[in-house]
């Protein structure tokens, strides 16, 4: 600890005692003493020179340059394993994935960067994935989808080089093929049938799905508007009823009394 540098205390009132704040450092704030004018000036000038010594020290030692020249060092640049820059599907050696379309990741995603569509006519099993759309443009790399996936389908890669000129290109289809999971595929003996169950998917084309989603959203918006209006009307009605009930108590008990009588 370099407490020595701040140890020389001026005479200062101790700070007010506060509950639970033991060991508070008093404000032994160091600064250049200006009381002796000439001495202060020389101290000040010396402080300037010592600052200059620091900077020139770096200039004189080229070994302190720590710049990594990015495009030139692309081959040697190694990112940490956990760095998150690109979502990817885990395909096994045969090229099969394990996504059962349980939609847990889709639900967990904070801003709907994952959109999963199922095949209309599953070839083999009950539910089969058609395309697993991942929006790189809106993804926040929070890693939630990866940790919630019960089957380990997803992983994050460190491939950060994905600048584009058109933002529609940032919607990727992650699965290589549309079709059943690996365990189902492996049960199929016939390689031809296997192939038939798998339909190739290209990384692009996902933006149509996103547009469809936006369309659905607009419809939903209209529905919520209607729901809000209905709720508001109900609230007003309820309130008026309560008001009426409050205004009428004089009449009501009388009527009741009459009934009883």
């Amino acid at each position: 600890m370099s407490d020595e540098s701040i140890a020389a205390p001026e005479v200062l009132p101790p700070p007010e005692k506060h509950v639970g704040t033991g060991g508070a450092v008093t404000g032994a704030v160091p600064w250049i003493d200006k009381s002796g004018a000439i001495g202060g000036v020389f101290k000040g000038i010396r402080s300037l020179f010592s600052g200059m010594k620091v900077t020139v020290g770096y200039l004189m030692r080229p070994s302190t340059v720590i710049t990594q020249q990015y495009p030139e060092n692309r081959e040697t640049l190694k990112l940490p394993d956990r760095f998150r820059a690109q979502l990817a599907f885990n395909h096994d050696d045969n090229g099969y994935h394990k996504c059962t379309m349980c939609r847990i990741c889709e639900e967990a995603c904070p801003n709907v960067s994952i959109i999963i569509t199922g095949r209309e006519k599953p070839a083999v099993s009950k539910k089969e994935i058609d395309s697993f759309v991942w929006r790189l443009d809106s993804c926040t790399f929070c890693n939630t989808c990866v940790i919630v996936c019960p089957f380990g389908v997803l992983r994050f890669d460190g491939t950060f080089e994905s600048s584009v000129y058109d933002r529609r290109l940032l919607a990727y289809t992650l699965n290589d093929y549309a079709g059943p999971v690996a365990s189902v595929l492996e049960k199929i003996e016939d390689p031809e049938a296997r192939k038939a169950a798998m339909e190739k998917r290209d990384p692009y084309g996902a933006h149509t799905i996103i547009e469809a989603l936006a369309e659905r959203q607009r419809a939903k918006k209209a529905a919520t508007h209607a729901a809000y209006a209905a709720a508001k009307a109900a609230r007003i009605a309820k309130k008026e009823a309560a008001k009426a009930a409050a205004e009428a108590p004089a009449a009501e008990p009388a009527a009741e009394a009459k009934d009883v009588g």
Binding site: L48, T55, L59, V65, T67, Q69
Partner: protein
Amino acid sequence: MSWQVKTMAERTGDLLPGSPWTAVLYVLLTILAVTAFVTLCGLVLIYAERKVSAHFQCRLGPMRVGWHGLLQTIADTIKLLLKEDIVPRDADALLHILAPVLSFAGMLLVMIALPMSPSIQVADMNIGVLYVTAVSGLGVLGILLGGWSSNNKWSLLGAMRAGAQIISYEVSATLALLVVVLFAGTLQLSGIVQSQETGWWIWRAHGCGIVAFSIFMIAGTAEINRTPFDLAEGESELTAGFHTEYSGLRFSFFFLSEFLNMFVLAAMASTLFLGGWMPLHVGHFTVFNGIMDLLPPGLWFTLKTSAVIFLIMWFRWTFPRLRVDQLMRLEWKILLPIGFVNLFVSAACVVTGFYFFAG
């Protein structure tokens, strides 16, 4: 060894002896030479500043344009020249256009008086020091006009700061110059250089030279608006100060004149205090002086100027900026009294002949 001073004016006279076209040729050659020099100097200085600052800060600086970024400033220049030129609608168009030209012109005019070597000097006036002081004052006019005409409050603030600052510090700078003028006994720049044949004024004048040099450097740095005195364009305070509204070519004029002013300051400092193109001579030690004379005078000038420029850059990349009132206090309460006392002391030295190799 005596130095034969030959200016460009005399050379032009040699080319066309007795012809009336001499004047025209002289003007043309001057324009050509100064423009070429200014361009080259600007490019080199900006590149140097970027590289030096980078290495102060543990990084590399321009690397990708040309070998180690050598062509970087050329790319910048072409881009700036071709950029759209905007004059704000509410600006005073005439003054807005005039301001950078004035600022640039002040710096250009100083250039012709600088003695860079016995044979490289455009004009050798017998009132050189006075001329330089007077003409470099034009720069502030450009800055004031630029800030005023932009119709932008930040610009105006920057211009007013610059005006106050430059005019104040000019007093101290001039006092420091006078010390050398006293010792040298001449206002002619080449004369001042030649007066340092037995040693530079910075050490020959006992303490006076060093004090005057320090004052001149501080005041000069303030005059050219560089950190720690860059209040006029202090980025973090005034966006971009007086040139906030300038773009493209006109901005590059301001940009370039800032860097060339640095060169002018360094050249003046080395001419007056460090002997200019005069090699390092110590009194009448002929052997030592002879060894020093092996290097050509032009190289001496370049080396000294570069050293001073490096010093200015070093200031810039180390120190934070002063505040407005501190800046004024530094000038009027500290530098000016010291400057006056220094002037009196050096006058006494001159009268009594109390300095090295006075004979």
